[in-house]
Symmetry: C2
Amino acid sequence: MQDGEVFAALADPTRRDVLQLLADRGQASATTLAADLPVSRVAVVKHLGVLDKAGLVARREAGREVRYEVRPERLELAARRLVEVAAAWDARLAAIKRIAEEER
Amino acid sequence: MQDGEVFAALADPTRRDVLQLLADRGQASATTLAADLPVSRVAVVKHLGVLDKAGLVARREAGREVRYEVRPERLELAARRLVEVAAAWDARLAAIKRIAEEER
DNA sequence: CGCTCGTGCAACCCTAGGGTTACACATCCA
DNA sequence: TGGATGTGTAACCCTAGGGTTGCACGAGCG
């Protein structure tokens, strides 16, 4: 459940569609999701698999079918990490700029 | 310069290394970056290309060499979008939960 | 019980893209 | 001017992974 996995998960357009669709419905199975997507059920299952590993989605078995639901917390966490990294870069850049100023 | 491009750019580990290295140095050319990475210069150039398209890096020609530098703003922007999406999902999930409560 | 529906799984196809080497060209400097 | 040095580009290799079809299996229901 690394950050890299989250980015990789978010990188694929079909996967983002799956995520969005899932968010709209609250919860759904791979089969019903596939009905409203231009790809097969198997493809959707694979996508849900990587989304699950990335922690962006929760898998819950209900009888003979498998329900998935979105987990916004993970997305927020990833976003916060991004902000942290960006801030760190900013600080470093500011420091470099300051040094450049002093040397002038 | 779509959001998808940013995620795709961030998805590759080598690319993240390039980004980090670039952030450490403030600015650098593809050749000098390649010196401290386990891949060839050509590979680094390609990576810098997608980072550039994603807006995460700025390309600046200086004489016969090409300097690149990191652009934290784009990273922050992407992060903010993520937070927005997560918030939207949260709201939707909350709504669905509320409806479920009412139906009870 | 028998039929249907939802999953899991295996085998396969095909392209994107990350990586390489080799060569041509431009710029800087002794 | 000539030789390093830094880029760009072309041709190529190879795997990851997104997509498919086909089939077997288990759960639910008339």
